[in-house]
């Protein structure tokens, strides 16, 4: 069982859980005061896309996938972050 659990993905799972708690704390009470939701929200989006990337690279094993497949995924992450932030700020 140790051989199955001893993998980078286990470490990534801890990071993902930690980031989830950070995002939740930022969303509930970001500590920046009323009227300062924008920086907290942008940080939450950035953390979310970072988490998406970690899931793709380590859980879906795209880190060792052919460059084209990995490139499409990396492009999706960058595009999604840009789109979310642009729509959130300018829509």
């Amino acid at each position: 069982m140790t051989a199955v659990v001893r993998t980078n993905a286990s470490l990534i799972w801890f990071v993902l859980c930690g980031l989830t708690v950070v995002s939740w704390a930022l969303g509930v009470d970001h500590g920046l005061g009323e009227g300062h939701h924008l920086p907290a929200s942008l940080a939450i989006f950035a953390v979310a896309i970072f988490k998406v990337r970690l899931v793709g690279l380590y859980f879906m094993e795209l880190k060792t996938a052919p460059r084209v497949l990995r490139g499409i995924f990396e492009g999706y992450c960058v595009g999604l972050l840009g789109l979310l932030i642009a729509m959130f700020v300018f829509a």
Partner: protein
């Protein structure tokens, strides 16, 4: 290509008898990635539409968001992450003949933890309906029910996929086709996790 996993293959074939995939290995059948990226694009369009509508009525969306239970949303994220890592472990176990006996219980464990998402979501929906909140309450809740409902449908499909994968995981000598099917199904489940990682902050947190 129906050679048994664990038996060395001839030149040109990927060696899957290791704990880690070979360099430049496509997880699952290549075709599954068309489905996965297609699904991700559909959700991306929905995210864009949601943010566009939010931009038109930011006050209504922020006020309505206050009625959501953020703790349940975060709990569901942890549930899906835990389910996903169990499926990662199952995939690793399936690749190694001496650990293959762990693949089925780990896959079923992933499905059991994943089913907690459905139970929590059912409780959350019940909470809303009991408070008189439905999709017709306002625009925010229409998008809340559509986005989370569509994702919930993916979770249920994913749980069915995991159940099918558990039977594959129980095979003593899976073929490379079985392995590719298992990897593809596992990637679908991880995509369900990935989508929730965006939906949770989008609907529940940012304002």
């Amino acid at each position: 290509m129906t050679d048994v996993i664990g038996v060395p293959r001839s030149a040109g074939g990927a060696d899957r008898n290791t704990s880690e995939p070979s360099p430049r290995h496509v997880p699952g059948e290549p075709g599954i990635w068309v489905l996965l990226f297609g699904d991700m694009m559909v959700f991306t369009v929905l995210f864009t539409v949601y943010l566009h509508q939010r931009g038109a009525r930011p006050g209504l969306f922020a006020e309505s968001q206050g009625a959501l239970n953020r703790t349940l949303g975060a709990t569901n994220t942890l549930v899906l992450l835990t389910s996903s890592i169990l499926v990662v472990f199952a995939t690793r176990a399936l690749r190694r003949p001496e650990l293959r006996y762990l693949a089925r219980p780990l896959t079923l464990g992933g499905a059991a933890v994943g089913s907690c998402f459905v139970a929590i979501k059912a409780f959350e929906y019940h909470e809303k309906v009991a408070a008189g909140i439905t999709p017709s309450t306002n625009e925010f809740f229409m998008y809340y029910f559509v986005l989370t409902g569509l994702h919930l449908a993916h979770v249920i499909i994913g749980l069915i996929v995991l159940t099918v994968l558990s039977t594959l995981a129980g095979k003593p000598e899976p073929t490379s086709t079985h392995m590719a099917f298992f990897e593809g199904g596992a990637c679908f489940w991880h995509m369900v996790d990935l989508l929730w990682i965006v939906i949770f902050p989008l609907i529940f947190l940012v304002r």
